[in-house]
Every structure is written in structure tokens, then in C-alpha cells.
């Protein structure tokens, strides 16, 4: 009980000011000085506890509603800062992330990736079937951005090979590359985000993407341009299509969390269980799409006689082997029991726990 509000405010006010000043700091941690950081965190914790106790005293006090509101706001901010959701090591470890975290996250959800792959293949087969029935279907189904594919494959191959050394070929490569990255990253993010609507639009997007691939692929093969097709698509197609399938994989993971199939967790816990893996996979497919954009602009669009098709095909195949080896072999065998535990959380019906964070 507060007997004298005036002296109570006078006495406690410096502590509230100090807490507020610490809250205004970007971070409580000073890099390279763990002792100072620890002292500051301890002080922050003490001030939070003290101010919370002040609030508890004031909550039974009728007057000063503004002061209560002020303290509630202060405590809410301090509570938010003190009880974080992330374990921050304070150190970026990109190599560890690349060789361990990412491939493991991929493998944990490999089934969703393969489902995404097979939906696209089904779309490709459908596209091939549709164009085999009527070549005019290409005009109906190809989006505007593929206008350069309207001409027949043989005509295009001739034109491309005739201009292989043309300076125009090299004119806007960087811009084209950036456009590809921009467009593909947005498509992959949409494939992921649409998962929240039960995955329906993710499936539609993957299927339609497959249709376009099937239309183009069938036409080039039927026209006897298989070698050109492989040399054109393989170098950038390996990372690009893998990334798009990963976008679909994320969408399907999200859709499963929405639907709750195969788990007895609440929706909130299902989301919590997949959240970190989603972020890892999204960063991963963005990196792949940057790589694909560079390759498509600088290698895929360069044709014989400038670069032999066999070399481009070999490059694409090497990429494929490295990609499969990386995704399935990297970081294998050194999963900690904790990680296994977390990865299985959603399947076993419980969510990974959260830990306090000091930032």
C-alpha cells in the first residue's frame, strides 16, 4: 500500500526514467564487451522488476490513472524486450547456415518438395498433351512475357545462332538478369504465401508453371530441337525450377499447418513449429534465384557457335548433381538430438518451446 503518493513518485521516478532510457537504446548488448552487456542486462532486469512492483502497488490506487497508464506502457515495453522469441547467438554464421541449417531444413520437409515437383510435372504433362492436340493452344496458354516463344522453335534456333556473336546480345544482360531475379523471387514468394489459403493457389500456380514448361518442352522436342532446349534450359533451369519447387514446398508446408492434417496441435502451435524452417527455405530459394538469374542472362542466352551446346548441357548436369548432393548430403549425420526433436515437433503433436531473449 502507498501511504504517500508524492514521495512514492519522487522516490521511484529516477528508476522509471532509467528504464525508459534503456528501452530507447537499440540493444542492451555492446558488441565485444560481454561484461558491460551483462551488467546492463542485469540492471534492466532489476529496473523492470522494480517498476513492475510499483505498478502492482499503483493498481490498487484510485487516483493517478495517467501514471498507471504510463507505468503499464513502460512495463509492457520492458516485458516485450525481456521476453523475446528468438535465441540469438549474436554471431552470423553464413557457412554453417549454408552447409548445415539450410539442407537440413530442406530434408525435414522433403515430402512437400516432391509433392510440389510432381504437381509441376503433372502440369507439364498436361501442357504437352494440350499442345499435342492443337498447336494453337500455345497462344492461348502462354503468358505475355513469353512472347519470344511464339515463333517456331526451328526459326528461333536459327535466329539465335545467327546472332550468337552480335553485340546486341550483350547489351542489357545485367538488366535482364535483375528482371529475372525480381520476377522469379516474387513468383516463388507468392507460391509460398498462397499456402495460407489452404494451398489451393499454390497448387494452381505450380500446375500452371508446369503447363508452360510442358508446352515449350514438347514443342521444341517435336520440332527436333532437343539439344538446343537442353542447352538453353538446363544451366538456369536447375536452380530456377528447384527454387520454384521450394516456393511451392513452403506453400504446401504452410497449407498443412493451416489444415492441420496429421497432427493434433492447435493452429497457433503448428505455425510456430514450421516458422523457422519456412524462413530458412525462403532465404535459400532467394539465393538460388539470384544464381539462376545470373546464369540465365549470361550463359543460357548465349548459344552456339559462341558456346558449344555440349558444354552448356554438361554445366547444367554438373549443377544438378551438385544440387542433389548438397541438398541430400550436406550437414547429414551431425544433427543434434535437440534439432531432431524440434523437427519432429509438428508431427508428434507438440510445438518447439520458446526461450527468453535479451537484445
Amino acid at each position: 500500500m502507498i501511504l504517500d503518493l508524492e514521495s512514492f513518485i519522487t522516490r521511484e521516478r529516477p528508476f522509471w526514467d532509467e528504464l525508459e532510457a534503456l528501452l530507447k537504446r537499440g540493444s542492451l548488448v555492446t558488441r565485444g564487451d560481454s561484461e558491460e552487456s551483462l551488467t546492463r542486462i542485469r540492471r534492466f532486469h532489476y529496473l523492470y522488476k522494480r517498476s513492475a512492483a510499483d505498478l502492482a502497488k499503483l493498481q490498487t490506487f484510485a487516483s493517478e490513472p495517467e501514471l498507471r497508464q504510463y507505468l503499464e506502457d513502460l512495463i509492457a515495453q520492458a516485458y516485450t524486450r525481456l521476453h523475446g522469441n528468438a535465441e540469438t547467438s549474436g554471431k552470423l554464421r553464413p557457412l554453417h547456415w549454408f552447409f548445415h541449417v539450410y539442407p537440413r531444413a530442406f530434408r525435414r520437409h522433403a515430402a512437400a518438395f516432391w509433392l510440389s515437383f510432381w504437381i509441376s510435372i503433372a502440369g507439364a504433362l498436361f501442357g504437352a498433351f494440350v499442345i499435342s492436340q492443337d498447336t494453337d493452344n500455345k497462344l492461348r496458354l502462354l503468358p505475355g512475357q513469353f512472347g519470344h516463344l511464339i515463333q517456331s522453335p526451328t526459326e528461333r534456333v536459327k535466329a539465335e545462332e545467327a546472332n550468337a556473336f552480335s553485340p546486341e546480345q550483350k547489351e542489357h544482360r545485367a538488366q535482364f538478369s535483375a528482371q529475372l531475379m525480381n520476377n522469379n523471387i516474387r513468383v516463388a514468394i507468392n507460391a509460398m504465401a498462397f499456402g495460407i489459403l489452404f494451398g489451393i493457389f499454390t497448387v494452381v500456380l505450380l500446375f500452371y508453371n508446369g503447363i508452360v514448361l510442358g508446352l515449350v518442352g514438347y514443342e521444341y522436342i517435336a520440332d527436333g530441337q532437343s539439344e538446343f532446349l537442353a542447352a538453353w534450359l538446363l544451366p538456369h533451369g536447375v536452380p530456377e525450377l528447384t527454387a520454384i519447387f521450394m516456393g511451392g514446398q513452403c506453400g504446401l508446408i504452410l497449407a498443412r499447418a493451416v489444415i492441420g492434417w496429421g497432427t493434433n496441435l492447435t493452429m497457433r502451435d503448428r505455425f510456430r513449429a514450421i516458422r523457422d524452417d519456412l524462413v530458412v527455405l525462403v532465404i535459400g530459394f532467394c539465393v538460388l534465384l539470384v544464381w539462376a538469374g545470373i546464369i540465365e542472362s549470361y550463359l543460357s542466352q548465349t548459344h552456339e557457335p559462341a558456346i558449344p551446346y555440349s558444354l552448356k548441357i554438361a554445366f547444367g548436369l554438373v549443377e544438378l548433381v551438385v544440387m542433389v548432393a548438397y541438398l541430400y548430403m550436406s550437414g547429414r549425420g551431425d544433427e543434434t538430438p535437440d534439432e531432431e526433436d524440434q523437427s519432429l515437433a509438428i508431427n508428434n503433436g507438440r510445438a518447439a518451446s520458446t526461450t527468453p531473449r535479451y537484445s
Binding site: F61, H83, M181
Partner: protein, 274 residues
């Protein structure tokens, strides 16, 4: 409206402290987004101008960099600021909003990324149509991104102080002559009772005369039963005046000593220190 819809996030800490965070409404959130959007447009234009200058060196490279920066800022603006500013962007700062975890805790990197990536769906078909619909339908005013990330948006309230001088209508508060009893009154009256007293006085003209007399009599009797002022202080006071004195005693700002930063403290405390 969803069943069990709430306008505040009530938190009870392990220490037994309770406090609440008011949830942000769709209009303030929309304005925060508009501010952020305008900043994005401004930055994007600035990058466009720089690209024009950069094209002196290489047109191809300059516009490639412009495209990539547009993508990075478009996708990463909110993510970056919400991460380094603990759940705030420029727009949210201006509108006094903050993104927090559903439990009132700070955000993890995963939460920041997921809620912002799903913005692509929330924005459909125009002006956050999908997000706005879910905001209205969900119990905690969450758009789809918030649902997936387990986040909510809370706001800070600037508490306006009631004009207690007006309550007295120019008359002297006879309770002021008895500061010890006044202090006892403030301790014994609960926040809810104080609020009822103030509300009854502020809504004076909305009440029918008979109802007003009855309500004021019952309230005054209640406050009389909590503390007893000497007769010299209550002589000749009507029930209404008794309530006005009580409200003034409860809500009056009291000086506490040295002058301090007004900006950092609510009006009540800052002016009390003046």
C-alpha cells in the same frame, strides 16, 4: 464479428503483475501502412534518380541495380525496420503502433519475416482487402500474416487528463483543508469507483433529473461510507457537490518536487513535478 473478440491483450506475468496492451484498429494500421508506402515511393524515386546518374557510367548496370534495390526495399523495408526497431516501422512509430508476439513478447526473426512475406496475400485484391477482412473477423484483430507469424499489433494510448477544475465549477474544494483524510480517500477508492464517480459527473446533462439525484445520492453515500470528513468540510454540501469534491480530490494533480522532463512522463506526473 468473431466470438470472444477483444480490444486488448491482457498479460499476467509470472510475478503476478497484470497489464494490458490495447490492440490496434484497422484505420490506424492503414494509416501506418500509407506512411510506409509513401516512404517506399520516395526512396524508390530517389533510387531511380541515382540510376539516371549512374547510367553515365553504365546504363545496363545502373538500371539492373535499380531493379534489385526496388525488390530489396519492397520486400525488406518492413522486415528490416521491424527487426531492428523491435516491431516498428516509420509508419508504426508515427501512429504509435508496435508489432509484438501474441504473448506480448518481443519478435523473433522468423516472425518478422513470415508476417511480412504474407503481406503479398493480405494486400489482395486492393488496399489490404484480404488482410482487412481477417482483421475484422479474428478475435485478436490479426491479418493472415499475423496469424501465421503469431503476432499482434498493439498501440500506445496517450491518456488525456480529465479537466477536474471544471468539475468544481469555480467552487472551493473544502476537502483540501484535510489532506490526510483526502489521502485516505484516494487509498480506499478503487480505480473502478473513481472512474464511475468521474463518469457520473461528466455525463450530468445526459441523465434525467430524478435519475441524476438518485445516482448522485447513492454514490455520495458510498464515498461517505469510505472516509469521514469533519462536519466543517461537508456542511451544506449537496450530494452532487460532495461528488465533485471527491472527484477533484481523486484526480487532482499534486506537486511532487523538482521539475523533470515532461516529454518522458505522462502529463499527470510531469505537471505534478513542476
Amino acid at each position: 464479428m468473431a466470438l470472444g473478440r477483444t480490444t486488448t491483450l491482457d498479460i499476467r506475468t509470472p510475478d503476478g503483475i497484470t497489464f494490458s496492451m490495447p490492440l490496434a484498429g484497422p484505420i490506424t494500421r492503414f494509416f501506418a501502412w500509407v506512411i510506409d508506402f509513401l516512404i517506399f515511393i520516395a526512396v524508390s524515386r530517389a533510387i531511380g534518380l541515382l540510376a539516371v546518374f549512374g547510367s553515365i557510367v553504365s546504363t545496363d548496370l545502373a538500371f539492373a541495380v535499380q531493379l534489385l534495390l526496388d525488390l530489396v526495399i519492397g520486400v525488406g523495408y518492413s522486415m528490416f525496420l521491424e527487426w531492428i526497431w523491435n516491431g516498428q516501422t516509420v509508419g508504426k512509430r508515427v501512429m504509435k503502433l508496435r508489432v509484438v508476439d501474441e504473448g506480448g513478447r518481443g519478435l523473433s526473426g522468423g516472425q518478422v519475416v513470415v508476417r511480412n512475406l504474407l503481406r503479398a496475400i493480405d494486400m489482395l485484391p486492393l488496399f489490404y482487402g484480404v488482410g482487412g477482412m481477417f482483421h475484422v473477423l479474428t478475435a485478436r484483430c490479426q491479418r493472415l500474416g499475423d496469424l501465421a507469424a503469431g503476432t499482434i499489433v498493439v498501440r500506445r494510448i496517450d491518456v488525456g487528463s480529465p479537466d477536474v477544475d471544471e468539475l468544481l465549477a469555480g467552487k472551493f474544494n473544502s476537502f483540501r483543508d484535510h489532506p490526510v483524510i483526502e489521502a485516505r480517500l484516494r487509498q480506499r477508492v478503487s480505480p473502478e469507483e473513481a472512474k464511475i464517480c468521474l463518469s457520473a459527473l461528466l455525463r450530468r446533462n445526459e441523465l434525467e433529473p430524478d435519475t441524476r439525484l438518485d445516482v448522485y445520492r447513492r454514490l455520495a453515500d458510498h464515498f461517505r461510507s469510505l472516509v469521514e470528513f469533519p462536519e466543517s468540510a461537508t456542511f451544506g454540501l449537496t450530494d452532487e457537490q460532495y461528488l465533485r469534491n471527491t472527484a477533484e480530490s481523486l484526480f487532482r494533480k499534486r506537486p511532487t518536487g523538482k521539475l523533470a522532463k515532461r516529454k518522458a512522463m505522462p502529463e499527470a506526473v510531469a505537471s505534478a513535478e513542476a
